[in-house]
């Protein structure tokens, strides 16, 4: 019982940050048709930026401790506002209308570049920004002690998901984005500024990656290599959920979270690949992922 509870809670906690990151990836794919390999690097940049900002803020004791959270949010926003337009306008737009696989290669190139850029800016040593992690204290469930911050993270994931759902389904701007996802050519013919939607969606995707990075930063040591783990995990999440599906990303994040938590508690040696095993199994039976209707094959 205790073990089941531990797996359940760990799984949901793991799923929360995975969802935030993966939903950005799936949104960018839905709108721009780009499976962004560099998404993990954007996560890493967000984490580095937040770790630096938090270190600076708490190091100088510049204000009330709780403002640190706002600072993390702010650093994710700054990263998105700089890198989003820069990558979309500066690089990606030259490659639109190319094959999906070629676009993966383009973002793979971006990933290589961003990897070295982060090493140049932040160096290769680890950053720690643990202050915000302990700030909310601990709570216990079923005799298991947890850090409250982890539950705040679940709240953040829920808020992100709800906001995104509301924005997409209940606002005019969101409806326009959905129209572009459905058919960009018809949307353009109807007078939608597709270029602007692309820029907006990509920047939002960068923001979500950086947000995930910024709020995960206090839990981990931020160091080179995290981007790879993140991209492979969020790839698995969006592919399991169905590319371009927000609900799919949520369900698949839980799936992956539980799988990882179960592996860590029950078969530790399988932790490295259980996610890919789940992904391969899902794809073997539902090639389009869990939440994507099969598209008719067109010429």
């Amino acid at each position: 019982m205790k073990l089941a509870a531990a797996i359940l809670i760990d799984g949901v906690i793991d799923a929360s940050w995975l969802f935030i990151v993966a939903v950005g990836l799936t949104l960018v794919f839905g709108v721009l048709n780009i499976l962004n390999f560099a998404h993990g690097s954007l996560f890493a940049v967000g984490a580095y930026a937040a770790a630096s900002a938090v270190g600076w803020y708490y190091g100088g004791e510049l204000g009330p401790p709780f403002l640190g959270y706002l600072l993390m949010l702010g650093s994710a926003l700054v990263v998105a506002l700089i890198l989003g337009p820069l990558l979309e306008r500066g690089v990606l737009r030259f490659f639109y209308r190319r094959d999906e696989v070629v676009l993966v290669l383009v973002t793979y190139a971006l990933f290589l570049i961003l990897e070295d850029a982060t090493k140049l800016i932040w160096g290769v040593e680890s950053y720690y920004a643990a202050e915000p992690y302990g700030l909310l204290g601990n709570i216990s469930f079923f005799g298991l002690s947890y850090v409250s911050y982890d539950f705040a993270l679940i709240g953040l994931a829920l808020a992100t998901g709800l906001l995104l759902w509301f924005g997409l389904n209940r606002t005019v701007a969101g409806k326009i984005v959905l129209a572009v996802i459905h058919d960009r050519d018809i949307s353009r013919a109807m007078g939608v500024n597709v270029t602007a939607v692309f820029g907006f969606a990509f920047t939002l995707g960068v923001f979500l990656a950086a947000l995930g990075g910024a709020f995960t930063a206090p839990k981990i040591s931020v160091q080179p290599g995290i981007s790879i783990t993140v991209i492979l995990l969020s790839f698995a999440v969006v592919v399991i959920g169905g590319l371009g599906s927000v609900e799919g990303a949520a369900i698949a994040a839980l799936f992956v979270g539980f799988a990882r938590a179960a592996a860590i508690h029950l078969v530790p040696w399988a932790e490295l690949f259980i996610v890919y095993l789940v992904m391969a199994l899902v794809l073997a039976f539902r090639p389009e992922g869990l939440f994507r209707r099969s598209a008719a094959r067109t010429i």
Partner: protein
């Protein structure tokens, strides 16, 4: 038939030139070229897939299988002959390829790419935890013999291995060229252009893709065994995604038009790597990224598309290949 004879003649000449060049070249260059050829073989497999419109991001699976097959044969059965070890690597690739091909042959585009990536990461994960195969430390290999000949020193061993790798490479390249120009090989190009049309003409796209997949797996197995012999060490990183990514990079760089271009690209990349990782260890990957972007933007058909373009350009004809990516 004339085309086939021409290919074989070109292969013979290429081997003779390589053998002479390797004799004259300094030792480090011979080592770099050996490794480049073994990686080029894996990239050649991706080129075979690319001709059918597929890109595998997980060729590390078969590369690793070939390397471990050679390594384990050497360790457990005391097989030391390079030819036998490489044949075992090819066999490992073949068996694994035949097992996986039916599962993957009906996937397309990014689903194919991500599934192959997932498979390679599963292999990577399992190998890292399989301590009887050395775990994350991997295994060491000793120097091989060549058809009974045991080289005296490391310099001679390096040249002998280079000669052997060149032989394997030239044969594989010639066979691939002949296959690419055959009816079955040309079906791949048709599948790339329009799968539905090909189906209506009576050919099975799934079968074509499956064959290409097995060819790619065998080539990757051979490449893996050769790499294992030339590095003298194998570890799970052979199946790591970055290794597979490098093969894709090579295939994009060379394009699917020319077989020779693959190996030219491989040698170039190995040279650039050994220089830049020495002088700019922290920026060379980024430089590689910029280079990749430039290739995709300005030379979507890869280096190989330059050759027919030059040849046809002289006659004032538009090059047919390399327009599509």
């Amino acid at each position: 038939m004339a085309g086939m004879l021409g290919t074989l003649a070109a292969a013979l000449i290429a081997f003779a030139v390589l053998a002479l060049a390797g004799f004259a070249a300094p030792n480090w260059l011979v080592l770099v070229a050996t490794l480049a050829f073994s990686k080029g073989l894996v990239a050649l497999g991706i080129v075979a897939l690319m001709r059918g419109g597929l890109v595998s991001f997980g060729q590390g699976t078969f590369y690793c299988a070939g390397a471990y097959a050679a390594g384990l044969a050497m360790r457990s059965f005391d097989i030391g002959d390079a030819a036998l070890l490489v044949a075992l690597g090819a066999l490992a690739g073949l068996i694994l390829g035949l097992l996986i091909a039916p599962l993957l042959a009906s996937y397309r585009g990014i689903f194919f790419a991500t599934l192959t990536l997932a498979l390679s990461m599963i292999v990577y994960g399992i190998l890292n935890k399989t301590y009887s195969l050395g775990g994350s430390d991997g295994l060491n290999l000793h120097a091989p013999t060549f058809f009974g000949y045991r080289p005296a020193g490391s310099q001679q061993g390096g040249y002998a291995l280079f000669l052997f790798a060149s032989l394997v490479t030239v044969i594989a390249a010639a066979l691939c060229r002949i296959h690419f120009d055959s009816v079955r090989g040309l079906l791949s190009l048709a599948a790339r252009d329009n799968e539905i049309r090909l189906e209506y003409l009576g050919a099975s796209v799934r079968f074509v893709s499956g064959i290409n997949f097995v060819i790619a797996a065998v080539l990757a197995g051979i490449g893996g065994a050769l790499s294992a012999l030339s590095l003298g060490h194998i570890d799970p990183d052979f199946a790591f995604w970055a290794t597979s990514g490098e093969f894709v990079f090579l295939a994009i760089l060379s394009g699917y038009v020319s077989v020779t271009a693959v190996f030219v690209a491989a040698v170039l990349l190995e040279l650039v790597r050994s220089f830049s990782s020495q002088y700019f260890p922290n920026t060379w990957q980024g430089a590689l990224g910029v280079f990749l972007l430039l290739i995709i933007l300005f030379l979507p058909g890869g280096l190989g598309s330059l050759v027919p373009r030059l040849r046809l350009g002289a006659k004032g004809v538009q090059a047919p290949a390399g327009k599509r990516e």
